[in-house]
């Protein structure tokens, strides 16, 4: 078992963990965190993949992807948090409400 595979497996594990948490937890903050964990898992996987070249130099493309991905995730998390705050204010708790306004 080489390092890359280990990283990859950990990445996939994180992803699954996040997915599980996303589904199970009702609290929005937990859901957002779960998504972040999932993202981290994917990024980990990508970074591990960078080592797949035969040369000692890692492949630059996955790195670029991860950086872009992180930017996106940060933006998404920011948006999610803002939204969460507003939802929490409307619902009086940080959970999704099933009742419609009418």
């Amino acid at each position: 078992m080489n390092t890359a595979l280990l990283y990859s497996l950990v990445g996939i594990g994180l992803f699954s963990l996040g997915l599980y948490a996303l589904i199970v937890h009702a609290h929005l903050l937990r859901k957002i965190l779960a998504i972040n964990v999932m993202g981290s898992g994917v990024f980990l996987l990508l970074i591990a993949l960078a080592k797949r070249t035969a040369t000692p130099l890692p492949d630059a493309v996955p790195h670029a992807m991860v950086i872009t991905g992180i930017v996106v995730t940060v933006a998404a998390t920011a948006l999610a948090l803002t939204l969460m705050v507003r939802v929490a204010m409307e619902n009086h708790r940080a959970e999704l409400s099933d009742q419609s306004q009418e």
Partner: protein
């Protein structure tokens, strides 16, 4: 003057709204003007792009001169053009509508987001590699979530949150698939991938992940749970946008991937997709019929219509390019029609103050233009001739019957009948004798006409198929020779 053939129309399509978005953000007072002007310029740009595409065939462009795999490549063929045109058509109507819909405070948020969304959408349709597709998809999703939440209120915020979680989940799953594919083939470029792809477990896993992510975003049954809430609770122009364009964006990616990567692999998967589509048609239509609120009805109708797009997959192997033409056409006409319906529903909601179907008659009769828009769009949704929906459905049905998929054919027909049932459930109120007292017309004409024009366009699509198909054939996106 630069000769028009040398203008980089493709890049303009992305940069123009992006720049305008920043301008709007910086200079909120100019937001409306900028928005409208940008939209018009975009229309022009799509025209130019079409012209260019027709002259030169495939469009390929490396941004900043960096070639793949490192750089960002733009790629355009007939399918991209169709999607761009769809975006612009719906966008024009939404722009016209939104001009009067939002108050000053909302407008300051709306216009930058809307233009950003346009930029992201255009970029999505022009992307050549699966990673860029991810980025654009995410951008589109985030902008859309913000827009859903724009008006505030409990329903909207809840819907937005649900939508955000779904969209993030979808795109992360998709990204994981991208990672797997990159791992196997060392590229994210669609063309290169198509050359290298083979039948291996990793590909299957990637297919599963990317597919699941995209289907979630496309809201294919049973992954549609987030859609009705989000689509119904958003402000009218946003609902239109979501149903007409966003769902199509993820479907577009799915279609692209399917065409170049997965089609050779998965016969059974195609059948599964077809079955899910069939169930979606029935379930969505049935749910739509049961709704008591107008916007929910329209939203469930979207669930059903998405089903039609997926019914095509099991048929595609034998039917060839013409079927995909049909699917694209269905996509286009659904976009126009559904946007028209949401805009019209928005007018009714605004006028009546509610959207309970059973109490709509007063509003329906006071707003003949909106009602007409709803009804005309409904014609296309039902797939009754003459309309774009009919053309698409015809091609689908033809393929289904030719290949003996009687069940799918029956589902499509029954779906059409259910659609007519739920549409006439609403339209019927236009004819009840209500005791309407004359009251001031409180809906601006622009908003009514935006809906009507879209609806008329969806009807006129019934007559433009050969012409559109010719454009669609540019670059041969569906393989198997141009139609």
């Amino acid at each position: 003057m630069v000769p028009s053939s040398e203008i980089p129309w493709g890049a303009l399509l992305i940069l123009l709204p992006l720049a305008a978005a920043i301008l709007c953000f910086v200079w909120p007072k100019l937001a409306v003007v900028t928005g409208v002007v940008t939209m018009l310029l975009l229309t022009l740009a799509v025209g130019g792009f079409a012209w260019q595409l027709q002259r030169e065939g495939l469009y390929q462009h490396a941004v900043g001169g960096w070639e793949t795999p490192l750089g960002i490549g733009l790629y355009g063929d007939g399918l991209s053009l169709l999607m761009l045109a769809m975006t612009v058509l719906v966008g024009l109507a939404i722009t016209l509508y939104a001009r009067s819909y939002f108050n000053q405070k909302q407008a300051r948020v709306f216009w930058p987001l809307w233009l950003l969304l346009l930029a992201a959408l255009n970029a999505l349709f022009l992307s050549a590699d699966i990673f860029n597709l991810y980025i654009t998809l995410e951008m589109v999703g985030l902008a859309a979530v913000a827009l859903v939440a724009l008006k505030g209120g409990r329903d909207a915020l809840n819907g937005a949150m649900r939508y955000l979680l779904a969209t993030l989940l979808g795109s992360l799953t998709y990204l994981l698939g991208v990672a797997l594919l990159y791992h196997s083939y060392g590229t994210v470029d669609l063309v290169l991938l198509a050359e290298r792809i083979d039948n291996s477990p990793v590909v299957w896993a990637a297919l599963g992940l990317m597919g699941a992510g995209l289907l979630l975003k496309t809201a294919l049954f049973p992954l549609h749970f987030w859609l009705p809430a989000a689509h119904a609770s958003a402000p009218a122009p946003i609902s239109a946008l979501l149903s007409a364009l966003l769902v199509k964006a993820s479907f577009y990616i799915f279609l692209r991937l399917w065409l170049v990567l997965f089609a050779p692999l998965g016969g059974d998967v195609a059948l599964l997709l077809g079955l899910l589509g069939a169930v979606a048609i029935l379930w969505g239509s049935w749910q739509a019929l049961r709704q008591t609120r107008l916007k929910l009805l329209v939203a469930y109708s979207t669930v059903a219509q998405i089903g039609y797009l997926f019914v095509a997959f099991p048929l595609a192997a034998a039917a060839g390019a013409m079927l995909w033409n049909g699917v694209s056409y269905l996509m286009l006409s659904h976009a126009l029609a559904k946007a028209a319906m949401f805009l019209a529903a928005g007018n009714l909601l605004l006028f009546g103050g509610h959207d309970r179907i059973a109490e709509l008659d007063r509003a329906v009769q006071r707003l003949p233009i909106s009602t007409a828009a709803f009804a005309l769009a409904g014609v296309s949704i039902m797939g009754v001739p003459p309309s774009g929906g009919f053309i698409g459905k015809w091609l689908l049905l033809e393929a289904a019957i030719e290949q003996g998929y009687w069940l799918l054919a029956a589902v499509m027909v029954v779906g059409g009948l259910l659609a007519s049932a739920y549409i006439f459930k609403v339209v019927g109120y236009a004819f009840t004798r209500s005791t309407a007292t004359p009251e001031p017309q409180s809906i601006p004409m622009g908003m009514e006409w935006a809906a009507l024009l879209l609806a008329i366009a969806s009807i006129l699509l019934g007559f433009t198929a050969p012409w559109v198909f010719a454009l669609l054939g540019i670059g041969d996106p569906f393989g198997g020779g141009a139609p």
